[in-house]
């Protein structure tokens, strides 16, 4: 069992757990993920590692309530424990001194971008960060990203904070400003990553995205997470999760994320019924 040492509700529907997982903490690197299972009847879901502390033996995860499993997870309190916490899985993010890197974070993807931006900063890069959410009340970790960024732009869809609009606006401006951009890291919802990749395509700036298809084991065993990159089938769990955004078949990814949409609804309804009772 893996104990929840600290729980923080970042914004409505997005929660942070600091987990006791000393072995995983020893090995964790930016861009990797864990697979968690709440209990005997639970499903295995991948969650990104948002932070870790080798000395403390802790690993921090941030997750959004999107279905029955994450809703059940969100009910757990400090001191509770979950059955399984497997990792660190996936290939770590590529970290080198590229020069100037634009990090684009969307929604819960903010927690994924944070350790990557920090590692890139520590490697000597200049970091421009664009942080986008739907509205001010869904914004979190502005301070965390600010601390590792040379410039930070916040956007909200409704204009309730920062610039009104979506992240591709400032991204385009930066690319067209004459500033030399050596790399873009864009992590968030599929639609956001797709449009960031489309935005950077004309300039040819290498654009790294972190894909989040459905997974089961997370170790290359099942092929559930297969994605098409540059016309080749890859397993996001062992070949990724980071890929070249210009080569990803976004429509396929979006379609495959909807495979269990009916079952997810059924499970969520069941859970709500049982939870209400």
């Amino acid at each position: 069992m893996y104990k929840i040492l600290l729980r923080e509700d970042l914004v409505p529907g997005i929660h942070l757990f600091k987990m006791a997982a000393p072995a995983v903490a020893q090995k964790a690197q930016a861009g990797q993920f864990v697979v968690v299972r709440i209990d005997e009847r639970g499903e295995r879901i991948p969650l990104t590692i948002a932070d870790w502390d080798k000395n403390e033996g802790t690993v921090t995860i941030v997750f959004m309530e999107v279905g029955a499993t994450t809703a059940r997870l969100a009910l757990l309190k400090e001191g509770d424990a979950i059955a399984d916490f497997v990792g660190p899985l996936g290939v770590p993010a590529e970290i080198e001194n590229y020069g100037t890197v634009v990090c684009v974070a969307g929604g819960v993807g903010t927690a994924v971008v944070a350790p990557i931006a920090r590692a890139l900063k520590n490697a000597g890069n200049r970091i421009f960060t664009i942080l986008g959410t739907r509205s001010k009340d869904l914004l979190f970790w502005e301070d965390v990203l600010k601390s590792v960024s040379d410039r930070l732009i916040v956007t909200t869809d409704d204009g309730s904070y920062g610039r009104k609009g979506v992240v591709t606006g400032p991204l385009k401006e930066i690319l067209e400003s004459g500033e030399k951009i050596d790399r873009v890291v864009a992590i968030g919802p599929v639609v956001m990553m797709k449009f960031c990749s489309l935005t950077t395509a004309p300039s040819g700036v290498r654009t790294i995205v972190s894909l989040n298809p459905i997974m089961v084991d997370g170790t290359g065993m099942c092929g559930c997470c297969r994605v098409s990159v540059g016309g080749e089938t890859k397993f996001a769990c062992v070949d990724g999760p980071d890929f070249d955004g210009h080569k990803v078949d976004w429509d396929l990814l979006a379609a495959r994320q909807r495979i269990y949409i009916e079952e997810e609804k059924c499970a969520y309804d069941e859970w709500q019924k049982s939870h209400a009772a």
């Binding site: 499903e43 029955a68 089961v216 170790t219 099942c222 499970a267």
Partner: protein, 466 residues
């Protein structure tokens, strides 16, 4: 000399129509009377051909004699002294090509039903001997040596059990959340109840084996780091867990599973109990299963039980070349699985929502024998036709997962991704590292993996005492 009895006692099975709708075990096992009757057919040959046919060398005539004498605890003792997993082997070993094929009575087409008797003994023990009585009477003298076993499938469990019985400190590292490997995620409940697997895992643990779950070697710690932690030897039994695909158009459509994914969802995650269990699985009305091995049969029979109307085995050769056990092909046919033989997919067709709607296939014919000795299937030109399907399960076999070989210095691998190891001892070219089972052979059987685990354990023991 008594007259030879050539009437094998049949094992009762669930009615095909009924069992096609449930996940309960198909074969129901012998009663004590049936077991005694079958045991009484054994002629106790001086030359024990059956034992030579057993990869783990079970003293078959002895345990059969004990059944005949009605001394069940003795039968249990004899069986478990060589085989830590008898309930599993009695169910999934291909006895027809091993011990039963070398039985003297096989010449008369009536070999002793050794597998059914083995299963009976294991089931009798679970039902009649509480765990305390069945654990080994005395712990061996500790050797002070530590062995890491990577993977808790049939090879790893067998190696771990033997090494623990020899007094070595054994730790198993398992990547999944439960021990058993393919016995848990691959073989379905109706062929191998998971309760039986867990009972036998518990027996292995009772020998003093520590089992660390959720431990992905290569990610959490590498093999070299494990050795640096003070283990004197490592046995790699991580199997062949990487699914192969056809690499044809449309294979990433929704509704197309690898058999590994489909079976993992159904068996390991218990998706057949969704939504009581959280993991879902899609159930088509018309399901095409690509392949002709045991995994294809298992997938097809699971799909049927989950409510599919039509389930097709789509196989590119003819029935004679099918690698599946005869018994499983017969079981599948009895349950209503339809066989589309000499048929090979060209591409999969999907709708505008990315869901599979059909498999365009070629008709095939058999040409000259290939490297495997089986006649090579050849495409009949212009024979394309479409089979309507709304779900496809690709069961083409598996390869070893590169997770360990790619993170370990000095392991030799083949172009198929298998680890090179001595056939007799399992020793790899890397110091202190042995390997056995599917990671060495590519996908094979439970018992051959157990045999490899056993031989490697003997070699490791010799090395540690050397």
């Amino acid at each position: 000399m008594a007259k030879l009895n050539l009437n094998r006692v049949e094992m009762p099975r669930q009615d095909p129509e009924k069992r096609g709708k449930n996940f309960n075990e198909v074969a129901l096992g012998y009663s004590l009377e049936q077991a005694k009757e079958e045991a009484s057919r054994c002629i106790q040959c001086k030359k024990r051909n059956c034992v030579t046919g057993c990869p783990v060398g079970v003293d078959i005539p002895d345990f059969i004699q004990a059944i005949r004498d009605g001394d069940m605890p003795e039968a249990v003792r004899i069986l478990k002294s060589k085989n830590a997993l008898p309930g599993i082997c009695g169910r999934v070993c291909p006895q027809e090509s091993q011990c039963e094929s070398t039985c003297t009575l096989a010449k008369k087409d009536a070999p002793i039903a050794i597998g059914r008797l083995e299963r009976f003994v294991a089931d009798w023990e679970r039902a009649n001997m509480p765990q305390a009585d069945s654990s080994p009477p005395a712990k061996p003298k500790p050797s002070g040596r530590k062995v890491a076993v990577v993977g808790s499938g049939p090879a790893g469990l067998t190696a771990a059990a033997d090494l623990a019985r020899l007094g070595h400190g054994v730790t198993i590292f398992e990547a999944l959340h439960v021990a058993g490997g393919v016995l848990m995620y691959g073989i379905p409940e109706f062929r191998l109840p998971k309760e039986i697997v867990q009972a036998e895992v518990k027996f292995v643990a009772s020998l003093g084996v520590e089992i660390k779950l959720d431990s992905v070697v290569g990610k959490l710690a590498t093999l070299d780091e494990i050795l640096a932690q003070g283990y004197d030897a490592v046995f790699l039994g991580t199997g062949a867990g990487l699914p192969m695909f056809l690499n044809i158009d449309g294979e990433n459509l929704n509704g197309i599973y690898s058999a590994n994914e489909f079976l993992t969802r159904v068996n390991l995650m218990k998706a057949y109990k969704f939504p009581e269990y959280d993991t879902p699985v899609k159930v088509g009305k018309k399901v095409g299963v690509i392949g002709g091995g045991n995994v294809a049969m298992d997938s097809a029979r699971c799909a049927l039980r989950l409510g599919a109307d039509d389930v097709y085995i789509i196989y590119r050769r003819s029935e004679a070349e099918m690698p599946a056990r005869r018994e499983e092909v017969e079981n599948a046919r009895e349950e209503g699985i339809q066989f589309k033989l000499l048929t090979n997919p060209k591409r999969f067709i999907g709708n505008d929502k990315n869901w599979v709607t059909g498999a365009e296939c070629y008709e095939m014919e058999l040409g000259e024998p290939d490297d495997s000795g089986r006649r090579r299937p050849v495409v009949k030109k212009g024979s394309e036709f479409v089979i309507d399907v709304d779900e496809v399960i690709v069961a083409l076999g598996t390869r070893p997962n590169p997770l360990i070989s790619s993170t370990t210095v000095g392991l030799e691998t083949t172009k198929y991704g298998t680890v090179v190891a001595d056939e007799e001892t399992g020793k790899t070219v890397k110091d202190k590292v042995w390997a056995g089972g599917d990671i060495v052979t590519g996908s094979a059987t439970v018992i051959s993996a157990m045999g490899a685990g056993k031989r490697a354990a003997a070699s490791i023991d010799e090395y540690l005492r050397g």
